[in-house]
């Protein structure tokens, strides 16, 4: 089964980066992936939504997902574009301080992640997106931390190479946070569940 993921937030928060990095990391693990950004608010400050689909076989999902079972909320702004499209029982990773007021999360699994704080600890408030990915990886096992770090490095343009270390630290801190909460692998990606004999 495919993992379908919405990432939503405000343009400039690294929403597109999260989606692309997760997709590239999955590709590194020989998964089939689809990634698309939703257009209309790509400028900084506007809405930003991406969808990522990961599966063991060629992706059959539609390019604009009618629904998804996983979401990462980097902000509660613009959540209305994503929230109503989540299937009952979806997993939501929400930034603790700036996505703290998501409406209508009843019936979903809400995991709060202090991504901004973790990013700041890693050395750059902007690497909150990285911490969030680390948390996502540890929580779902959808992608390995190493693939995530490699995908992050692969994507950095030459003029941003200096951020690689900070980003890697933030990814690690995000994962560590989930471990500390005792949630490692608590919500496995659907395709992982399939490979585990019942």
């Amino acid at each position: 089964m495919e993992l379908d993921l919405f990432v939503s937030g405000i343009g400039g928060q690294g929403v597109q980066l999260i989606g692309k990095t997760i997709a590239l990391a999955a590709l590194r693990e020989d998964r089939h992936v689809m990634f698309s950004g939703e257009f209309g608010g790509h400028m900084r400050g506007g809405s930003s939504v991406v969808t990522v689909v990961i599966g063991p076989d060629p992706v059959r999902a539609l390019p604009n997902l009618p629904s998804a079972g996983t979401a990462i909320a980097m902000s509660h702004s613009f959540w209305e574009k994503v929230g109503p499209r989540l299937r009952p029982g979806s997993l939501i990773l929400a930034e603790e301080t700036i996505a703290d007021a998501l409406p209508d999360t009843e019936g979903h699994i809400l995991v709060r992640v202090p991504a901004l704080a973790l990013g700041t600890r890693a050395g750059n408030r902007l690497s909150a997106s990285m911490a969030m990915m680390g948390a996502f990886s540890e929580l779902t096992g959808a992608i390995g931390l190493q693939s995530l770090e490699e995908a992050m490095t692969e994507q950095l343009p030459p003029y941003r190479k200096q951020h690689a270390g900070t980003n890697a630290s933030a990814i690690a801190l995000g994962a560590e946070h989930i471990r500390a909460e005792g949630l490692s692998g608590r919500h496995p990606a659907p395709y992982l569940a399939e490979s585990i004999p019942a």
């Binding site: 692309k20 809405s47 539609l62 390019p63």
Partner: protein
């Protein structure tokens, strides 16, 4: 497994074109086809190819025509509005037998008539591939160049912004295609003074020492060729049609969405099937006729005011069975596919039709609704 790369449709199409042997592209930027041009500009020089940033669509298509006439695999591309400017040259390529690939990264699905009826002069048709997603776009890119060379015709490749901008992991597979004869007709410049110099000309006049068949005979030959293509090259995909009481017809991305919805409805017990013309011309008329033989409802989903539905009407008996469930649907920018291309909306419309209810109108999504 060959290593996969995460590419958007534009880049995947360009990579596939290079693998297919394309070595010339000329284009003029226009959303959402601009990225195709940018990737061509970046990548063609790496394989000793040439990409020219032409100063108009007219020049772009004629440059590609010239490159093709000397034997190169050549292409141009734009969106539907740009293709409108290219129509004269596309007709010319059809009538003077120049193999040419024209990529249309369409803004929506309103280019159906333009692609299948053409806007140029003469008795010609343009083979049109309409991929449903990136994977098929890669395959169709190879097919487009192949069919163009095989029959010496212009071929339109019609994708859309969803395909162009969605990124997918792809290993860029190269389909196995028959080997084509060398292009002994190409104007390579070597036959001057031999008494056997070559010509490419829409009037079929030939040379003084080897007169051609003349316009009448020549254009009959061309028309005959399009007849042969019509019989040989129609492609389609269908599912669950055998016992379907309702068949939904859609092309391109729309076909993918309809397939998705039909699979859902099948799983819920509805006797419903889907039919997707893979080539818009030749239109798979016979296959559609067979697929809809027992259907009491034939629903046509396309994002325009009703274009492909004409071909559906020509293909099947019983017009009262055919009903449109698509319509015009753009986003606020006017450049991209709008809210009708949504599985939930399509599902509702199909169910409404089956229940004999009028189409559910989409909510107002005018300027600013999404900003």
């Amino acid at each position: 497994m060959t290593e996969m790369r995460l590419l958007d449709g534009s880049e995947a199409i360009v990579e596939a074109a290079l693998l297919a042997g394309a070595r010339f592209f000329a284009g003029y930027p226009m959303a959402p086809a601009t990225e195709l041009l940018e990737h061509m500009a970046a990548k063609l020089p790496r394989v000793d190819g040439v990409c020219i940033n032409a100063d108009s669509e007219l020049q772009a298509v004629n440059m590609a025509l010239g490159a093709a006439q000397v034997g190169a695999r050549a292409a141009t591309g734009s969106c539907g509005q740009g293709l409108a400017l290219m129509q004269e040259a596309i007709a010319e390529a059809a009538l003077n037998e120049t193999p040419l690939v024209i990529f249309n990264i369409a803004r929506n699905q309103q280019d159906y008539f333009q692609a299948t009826r053409g806007g140029g002069w003469g008795d010609y048709r343009t083979v049109t591939f309409a991929p449903k997603d990136l994977h098929e776009a890669v395959e169709h890119t190879h097919l487009a160049f192949h069919v163009a060379d095989k029959y010496r015709v212009p071929v339109i490749f019609m994708a859309d912004n969803l395909i162009a901008r969605t990124q997918m992991g792809t290993a860029l597979p190269v389909p196995e295609l028959e080997t084509l004869p060398p292009k002994d007709w190409a104007l390579d410049g070597t036959m001057g003074g031999t008494g056997a110099s070559r010509w490419i000309w829409t009037f079929g006049g030939g040379k003084a020492n080897r007169p051609g068949v003349g316009p009448d005979g020549y254009w009959r030959q061309i028309a005959d060729k399009f007849d042969r293509i019509a019989k040989a090259e129609a492609r389609h995909e269908q599912g669950f049609c055998d016992d379907a009481e309702c068949v939904v017809v859609a092309f391109g991305s729309g076909g993918k969405f309809v397939e998705h919805v039909v699979r859902e409805l099948r799983a819920e017990g509805h006797k419903i099937g889907f039919f997707r013309p893979v080539t818009l011309w030749p239109f798979p008329s016979e296959a559609l006729e067979a697929a809809t033989e027992n259907a009491s409802n034939i629903l046509v989903f396309e994002l325009n005011a009703g274009q492909m539905i004409d071909d559906v009407r020509l293909a099947v008996e019983g017009r009262d069975r055919i009903k449109p469930i698509g319509g015009i649907s753009f986003d606020d920018s006017g450049l991209n596919i709008g809210p009708l291309m949504d599985a939930r909306v399509i599902r509702t419309r199909i169910l409404d039709q089956l229940a004999g209810k009028p189409l559910t109108e989409l909510p107002y999504t005018g300027m600013g609704a999404y900003l």
